[in-house]
């Protein structure tokens, strides 16, 4: 039973990890370290810091986020990530989809039938 739940959480997280990154960048651009720190603490997401960078790299390769380097007065140069136009579009679609899915699941829980 525990294995089943573990697998299910992995599947559930897998679906929303990228959406979380996109949403985190929707508000403003963030540098990698800052982004990692803001995402690792989200309850239930269970994302390790080591997972985030490969995901960012893949999102950049897919053209959903863009990155730029900027010198920092507080330490080493920082790599800032932001959403591309395509990224914004995809994030909006994903959010809409997830909202609709949540609503459907919630409705099912309430009435036992699809909305």
């Amino acid at each position: 039973m525990s294995d089943f739940f573990d697998n299910w959480t992995v599947q559930a997280r897998k679906g929303v990890l990228e959406l979380c990154i996109l949403n985190a960048l929707a508000e403003r651009e963030r540098y990698g370290y800052e982004l990692v720190k803001s995402l690792v603490d989200i309850t239930g997401l269970g994302m390790t810091e080591g997972t985030l960078y490969p995901l960012l790299s893949r999102l950049r390769a897919q053209g959903l986020v863009s990155a730029r380097l900027e010198e920092s007065s507080e330490g080493p140069a920082r790599k800032y990530y932001s959403l591309t136009r395509e990224g914004k579009k995809v994030a909006a679609m994903m959010n809409d989809y997830l909202d609709a899915l949540n609503d459907s699941v919630a409705a099912l829980r309430r009435k036992g039938v699809p909305v």
Binding site: E49, G50, T51, Y53, P54, R60
Partner: protein, 887 residues
């Protein structure tokens, strides 16, 4: 700056190496992730305010960060069956291929394009692969696309994979096309590369094609994808379509050129129409500059359109004129070069002037310009004659010796009677001799590169002037041409004088350049267009002076008008060139003009004439009633148009101008067939006249011999009155040089005014200058009218020479021309540098005392003698009066 210990670096690298397969499979860039991790560690260290990163720190931080959750970063694009496959090795890992694609796909095409643009190497030797800037852009597109694709593959950036796939497909099509047209050069290029180590450039398209294809192969696997890329065939086909569209004007021009030079008259006409509507002027112009046999043989595209029978440059030049109405050498050479044999260095400093020493003015010569120009004239209105000296300075700023050549339009009825060249600051007068004799002497001296100047005639009222050498590096050459001319009698109390001007030249005259003109006369002078200012000369004579631009000099508006005593009908001079000093008399006769029985008008149908058709049409109303006339328009349809010779009735004079007003003009027309036809029609009448109204004829499209024969063999009638719309060369008239029946109508005003003057002269009273040589026993005291200068004798000699030529008495004519020092159709003037050169040529320079000048020496002598006589007469009267008073 945070310092990493070597062991810390190694720890991070170990971690990354362990993670790399996982990361690459997930679609992430392992290199980028490694950089990000390093940056993250730096942030951690900086936050802890440490200055160095140790192996321990790295292990600690990475341990806390944890390894990437394989299940979480798993790429959705990669299915389970592919997950365990060996990932495609990135291009950056295959160093030699990586470098080769960059060199052959980007660097070599860019170098090839740059070299061709800078040197036109291929264009000069074979054919022009980039004849327009569109071609240049197209070719440049290939390396630019290749570098974009190459970078994307190197960086693993799959964001624009689809767009790059389309660009790459297009970029594959372009070198494929060029590889095909370079195919004939490929074998020698391969040979050269193998045996000499050079010759890569012709193979550049092939290499670029291969590189672009390989890049496409790598592009396919970019971002972990293995889907087929879109658009290969469509992109390549689009490239061919774009090339075809860019090539279209050139291709259409080549088809038109082939038709326009066909043996079939119908095809020729079709070709000309084709070229006028869809042909490219630039393409035609290139054909005018010719190409080498190599280039012809290797140009596959041209070969396709010309059936392997290329059009020669001389044919192309004729076609260019017929299509555009301009001679090919009156416009700037093509900007992007093409293979053209000896012309391929036209714009270079070492350009050789192929027409040097010849009798054609030809195109502009680089570095040669007119430095100064002054005309000094003297008009004797009572004797109705003028003498003008034109002093010219040519400057050569090139590094080679140059020959200055120009055709000059003389004042109507004029003759060159003096030629001077400044050699080492000294004036040297010309020798006058037979035309071929002086030309041969000139050419011999030109070969020796010494200073000569030559003047010969090239049609009625036209002379060709040649000066050589104008020394290089800013040296100036100075020459003076003296011209004697009758005035044009507008009515008995008014006459006109027109300045000589250039018809054609091989030197540059800047737009700001001004000719300085000054003319003097005893009688009041008036500038017809008001551009000249009245002045008073030191000698008390009336003067008119001003500065005229090159275009203004030849304009009828700048004619000088002179009021003259209408009662002064006679002038005479003692002919000192005659052994027995006989006198020459000129009488202004007024007689009832006899209109010609038949007049055939030939109107040039060239494009430049279009604006003149209404003016020409407006003059027909002045035709004397009852005269037979017809109008022939020299155009493409000459042979098709039925011709009606009809009497000048009110209906005909209304209808014909209307037809002329609606006439279409096109290109440059061959006027010779129309003139031949007009002569045949005019010759059917005992007193026929051909009036030829035309623009400049810079190219002789047809052999004019049949026309010349007609006018030579019947010197009396038909007469040919030619009237040219504006200054420019006339190759047809050049061929008719010395033919008595050919007359130029003086341009004194608008075309309609001058035509009307000609037509009106056929009816009513007509004024004419008749010059005769009197018997030796005629006493001076018996002469009436004005005694004038020796110029009158020169004009008489000119008439006599024309008469002798018409009677084919060439020896007598030549003798007379030499004695009076005149440049005529059978004689010329040449200035040579040394006495030896004169002796070798069998010529003798004229005595400096015997040449005319402004004012004519004899005029001063006569003035002095006159004043002396008046003084003696007055002294006698005073003495007689005092005697009478004393008596």
């Amino acid at each position: 700056m945070i310092r990493w210990t070597p062991s810390a670096r190694e720890e991070l690298e170990r971690y990354c190496a362990r993670m790399r397969p996982t990361l690459e499979t997930s679609g992430a860039d392992a290199g980028e992730v490694a950089e990000d991790l390093k940056r993250h560690i730096d942030e951690e260290i900086a936050a802890a305010k440490l200055l160095a990163v140790t192996e321990h720190d790295v292990r600690r931080i990475l341990g806390r960060m944890g390894e990437p959750d394989l299940r979480a970063v798993d790429s959705p694009a990669i299915n389970s069956s592919q997950r365990h496959e060996e990932p495609r090795p990135p291009l950056a890992k295959q160093k030699p291929l990586h470098l080769a694609l960059l060199i052959f796909g980007v660097v070599l095409p860019l170098i090839t394009l740059g070299i061709e643009l800078a040197t036109h190497m291929c264009a000069g030797a074979f054919f022009d692969p980039i004849p327009t800037w569109w071609h240049v852009l197209l070719v440049a597109f290939v390396p630019l696309t290749n570098i974009l694709v190459w970078r994307a593959i190197r960086d693993g950036d799959a964001r624009h994979r689809t767009l790059l796939a389309w660009l790459n497909a297009f970029a594959i099509g372009i070198p494929l096309f060029y590889a095909l047209i370079f195919l004939p050069i490929m074998p020698p290029a391969v040979f050269a590369v193998i045996f000499f180590g050079w010759g890569l450039l012709p193979m550049s398209p092939l290499f670029a094609f291969i590189a672009a294809s390989r890049l496409r192969h790598h592009l396919r696997g970019l971002g972990g994808h293995d889907r087929a890329l879109p658009g290969l065939w469509r992109g390549a086909a689009l490239a061919f379509v774009v090339i075809a569209l860019i090539q279209l004007p050139t291709s259409l021009t080549q088809i038109g050129l082939r038709l326009a030079t066909s043996d079939s008259p119908d095809e020729r006409t079709r070709g000309l129409r084709w070229l006028r509507s869809v042909g490219s002027d630039e393409g035609l112009l290139r054909a005018c500059y010719g190409r080498t046999q190599w280039a012809q043989n290797l140009d596959l595209i041209s070969w396709l359109f010309t059936d392997g029978h290329p059009v020669s440059e001389s044919d192309a030049r004729n076609v260019y004129y017929r299509v555009t109405g301009r001679a090919f050498n009156t416009v700037a050479p093509p900007q992007i070069y093409t293979a053209r044999g000896r012309w391929n260095v036209l714009e270079e400093e070492f350009t050789w002037d192929n027409d040097q020493g010849g009798d054609a003015v030809a195109g502009r010569v680089k570095g040669l310009s007119l430095a100064s120009s002054r005309q000094d004239g003297l008009i004797d209105a009572d004797a109705a004659l003028a003498y003008v000296e034109w002093t010219l300075e040519f400057k050569n700023v090139s590094t080679l010796q140059r020959e200055a050549r120009a055709q000059i339009l003389l004042p109507p009825g004029g003759v060159v009677s003096r030629l001077t060249l400044w050699i080492n600051g000294e004036e040297r007068e010309a020798a006058f001799g037979g035309r071929s004799q002086v030309r041969e002497a000139y050419q011999n001296v030109v070969t020796q590169r010494r200073d000569p100047v030559l003047v010969t005639t090239c049609g009625p009222d036209r002379v060709l002037v040649q000066c050589f050498p104008v020394q290089p590096n800013g040296t100036v050459m100075k020459a003076r041409i003296g011209m004697t001319a009758p005035l044009i009698l507008l009515e008995s109390g008014e006459a006109a004088f027109r300045w000589p001007c250039f018809l054609e030249r091989n030197f540059t005259i800047s737009e700001e350049f001004k000719h300085t003109v000054w003319v003097e006369s005893k009688q009041p002078l008036e500038s017809a267009g008001g551009r000249l200012r009245a002045d008073r000369a030191q000698s008390g004579l009336a003067a008119l002076r001003g500065d005229l631009t090159e275009s203004d000099l030849g304009r009828p508006q700048n004619v000088v008008r002179i009021r003259r005593d209408s009662a002064m009908r006679q002038a005479w001079t003692v002919d000192t060139r005659d052994e027995s000093n006989r006198m020459i008399r000129q009488i202004i006769t007024e007689s009832e003009a006899k209109p010609p029985q038949r007049v055939i008008f030939v109107v040039d149908g060239s494009q430049a004439m279009k604006e003149h058709f209404p003016a020409i049409a407006g003059t027909f109303e002045n035709l004397p009633a009852g005269i037979e006339f017809a109008v022939l328009v020299a155009n493409d349809h000459l042979t098709d148009s039925p011709l009606r010779v009809e009497r000048a009735s009110a209906e005909a004079l209304r209808r014909v101008p209307e037809v002329l007003r609606r006439m279409k003009a096109a290109g440059g027309q061959d006027n010779v067939p129309a003139l031949v036809r007009a002569w045949d029609l005019a010759a059917e009448s005992p007193q026929g006249v051909v009036v030829w109204i035309h623009g400049p004829q810079p190219i002789l499209l047809d052999n004019a011999e049949q026309l010349k024969q007609r006018f030579e063999r019947r010197p009396q009638f038909p007469l040919l009155h030619e009237i040219q719309t504006h200054a420019g060369p006339n190759r047809v008239v050049e061929k008719l040089d010395g033919v008595a029946a050919v007359r130029s109508v003086a341009r004194l005003g608008g075309l309609d005014d001058d035509l009307k003057r000609l037509i009106v002269s056929w009816g009513g009273k007509s004024l004419a200058l008749v010059r005769e040589r009197l018997n030796a026993d005629m006493p001076v005291a018996s002469m009436q009218g004005k005694q004038t200068s020796l110029h009158l004798a020169r004009l008489w000699a000119l008439d006599e020479i024309a008469r002798l030529i018409a009677a084919r008495k060439f020896d007598q004519a030549l003798q007379l021309a030499g004695r009076y020092q005149l440049v005529t159709p059978i004689s010329g003037a040449v200035v040579l540098e040394t006495q030896t050169q004169y002796q070798t040529a069998g010529l003798k320079p004229v005595d400096a005392q015997s040449v005319p000048a402004v004012p004519e020496p004899s005029t001063w002598v006569l003035l002095g003698v006159g004043l002396a006589i008046l003084w003696v007469h007055a002294a006698r009267r005073r003495r007689a009066n005092s005697n009478a008073t004393s008596a």
